[in-house]
Symmetry: C2
């Protein structure tokens, strides 16, 4: 059967089919630190919609599983391709097909890197707002397939707010165009939103009509504030939100992550135990808002420094952006991604401290404090997640749910969080979602074992 | 069978079951000007989630169709209940269960009227942004079920941007909670978005977690500009968008609708042939933006008057808000709801003029020019839509599609537009959507004959 599938792929797709050991090895893993136990059959490097369609026709005819991937920067294992599977890469589909400044939209292929797109949009005075921390290496298609978030979400929205339409190849190779080019559109069911965050289980995104924004005029101001405890920093971030000021970015680093990032960047060690909030404001009122935020943070017990200089601000933020490599430098990490209502930030940090105590683990944590999305990092050595880490993660996740939160704010379910999916959705909704996936993919060839695996 | 259903409903729901002629008559129609050919079996006035669940359990057990409604202000016939059907009204479920200013969210029941909710939120300095023209009479549940739009959408978003989660009773009476209370959340498929705009075909919305905004500080400035032709007005509106200024509201009225609204309000007749743009700006930069817009409109050939006074501005907008009653005063109306990319506004008005010429009909048209959503009104006398009107509407819709637009921007498909649904979606996507609806409603008891009727 393996021979048949490979033969069929090669006959129809020729040079797009790659079975080199390096390519197969690469397709086994994303950035989650997890890796499929065996290599996939082949990597198909699709360069056109037709390549994707041909791959899916063959997969469908032969009952072969297909794992769609692009840059492989996911953090939940959703793009890991294993034994007997076709890894379908759309990484080479990088064209910008249209930019319409008057309609504030762009039509792009899925493999274009987020930062590359934005570099090209800048020439029009436009940008696509989603800014996952991985934006320099992650693709627009991957951002959409995972429903990515980022640092700017509280002010500028998540991926779901920034996509007008999608071109999707179905499991059997048919191409369907979902959504609209217009600002409004309610024709039928909103399949565009359904595909966003579907992690390769419903179809393959081969084109996207993106909703753009004009580049925000004015200053970018940055405030860094250190607090004696993480709880104080979290409470201060809630105070900013409650004061009715909308920062563009508000990032929180606890003491362990701040130390790790400083070490990675070769900076002097921070004050022991200190946590940090890094806040940016932008737009015409950036300075007024920065001053108001500095006042709130001071009143909340922070030691505040502020700059109206954009470059100096980027240097302050670089510490936050170093978090993921800093964790990688410590070992493998199970990165949690819980999200809670913003008023519950301090309470969630209390829960993290409790989980650390009760399970005897350290959990360096950063948070997009402006939108209540936390990334507790469970660092471990070796290939497999130790049971104590799973237990601590389980405890942490249930705490987030109790606080009105959710299992994943922006990374997705993939492999790593599927064991908790039904806990959050409830059995009725879990079955409903799985049955919807079956409508798209009756034979279950699209990313099997991910998300909905019971 | 009818007797059985009624008996079962009465036994379980007692006083909630209403078979008075007035109630049955009322449930036959919405504000589309269309009416079911016979009256429904009964109206169930649900006051609790349990009432909705009991109704659906009985409907499911007896195979009885259920048409969910609230205020009956829809414009596509989706809430019209006919012979053999249960009209399930959630209009009495009007409670606000929670307002959380710190988390910018509210949890409400579906029957609360949009304006009533906003009146209560104002005490917190908060508002729910969706503002359909019907906001004084339409409910939050209806706004969500239709995916309503409104006047402020280009700046403040549509319903889909303003809902975090939904509580939904399924066809068999089970309750499912979809979505999140947090800003971010990508756990599983986005069923919340799927339910928004599903027009009663997937489930009954019994609760909604709404994403709120803080009341915008600053002035509200209003500019009215008249133009010698509708094309000139449309081109001027595109020029405002292209200039990078974001008005809160930008409404266009063509000569026929302007005349009708003036007549209804007892105002002096406008200059013959004149079209009008009414633009509002808000927020801290309202005056600067209003001045800039006035300049763009003058340069585009408009006769401009402007006011920084909020009340005077509301008087100018009252002419636009009188459009729907003005059309009702002329006869029955088939209200089209096409939406095009903003750059195509002038071209769409050219197409409307062509359709008027070629089909010999008059099509008074207003448009949410800021987001490219047009409401061409086909006025006719009598109960049934004449064939010439259907033909003209068909021509118009296809023109919108050619311009990259869509059949419905904010009213939904309901009865009136189901004949074109597959034309826009394509047969593959139409079947996919219908099959998803069947996952929710295998027996087809939820609003049958609407949206997906072939």
């Amino acid at each position: 059967m393996t021979g048949d599938v490979l033969g069929l792929l090669r006959a129809e797709l020729g040079a797009q089919v790659d079975t080199s050991p390096a390519a197969l090895e690469d397709a086994r893993a994303d950035k989650s630190g997890h890796r499929a136990s065996a290599a996939p059959l082949a990597v198909v490097h699709a360069e056109t919609v037709e390549h994707v369609q041909a791959t899916l026709r063959i997969a469908s005819a032969t009952g072969t599983p297909v794992v769609t991937r692009a840059a492989g920067t996911g953090l939940a294992g959703a793009a890991n391709a294993g034994g007997g599977e076709i890894a379908l890469s759309v990484r080479r589909m990088t064209r910008i097909l249209e930019v319409s400044p008057d309609d504030l939209l762009a039509v792009v292929e899925p493999g274009i890197v987020n930062a590359d797109l934005n570099a090209q949009l800048a020439a029009y005075g436009l940008w696509w707002a989603p800014d996952p921390a991985s934006r320099a290496i992650s693709t627009v298609g991957g951002n959409i397939a995972t429903g990515a978030g980022g640092l700017l979400c509280a002010k500028y929205g998540v991926v779901r707010d920034a996509v007008l339409g999608l071109d999707v190849v179905l499991a059997d190779g048919r191409l369907v165009r979902m959504g609209h080019r217009s600002v409004k559109g309610v024709t039928g069911l909103d399949l565009t939103s359904l595909l966003i965050g579907s992690e390769g289980t419903l179809g393959v995104i081969v084109g996207a009509t993106l909703k753009l924004r004009r580049v925000v005029p004015g200053d970018v101001c940055t405030i860094a504030a250190t607090f004696p405890t993480v709880r104080a920093a979290a409470a201060a971030s809630s105070a900013v939100t409650a004061a009715g000021i909308q920062p563009a970015i508000m990032e929180l680093m606890d003491a362990a992550s701040l130390s790790a990032a400083h070490a990675l960047l070769g900076l002097p060690a921070p004050t022991p135990g200190a946590s940090q909030l890094t806040v940016q404001t932008d737009g015409p009122a950036a300075r007024t808002e920065a001053d108001a935020i500095a006042e709130v943070l001071s009143a909340a017990g922070g030691t505040v420094s502020a700059t109206y200089d954009r470059d100096e601000g980027e240097r302050l933020l670089a510490i936050r952006r170093a978090m993921h490599p800093a964790m990688e430098s410590l070992g493998n990490a199970l990165i949690e991604d819980v999200s809670v209502p913003r008023s519950q930030m301090a309470a969630m940090f209390d829960e993290i401290a409790r989980v650390e105590r009760e399970h005897g683990v350290e959990i360096p944590t950063v948070a997009h404090a402006g939108d209540g999305n936390l990334h507790p990092n469970f660092v471990f050595q070796g290939e497999d997640v130790p049971q104590v880490i799973w237990d601590a993660a389980d405890d942490l996740f249930r705490a987030a749910i109790r606080l009105g939160g959710t299992l994943t704010g922006e990374h997705g379910i993939g492999l790593l969080k599927r064991r908790w999916l039904a806990d959050e959705l409830g059995d009725d909704q879990w079955r409903l979602q799985r049955d919807i996936a079956r409508v798209f993919d009756p034979a279950g060839i699209l990313n099997p074992g991910k998300v909905f695996e019971a």
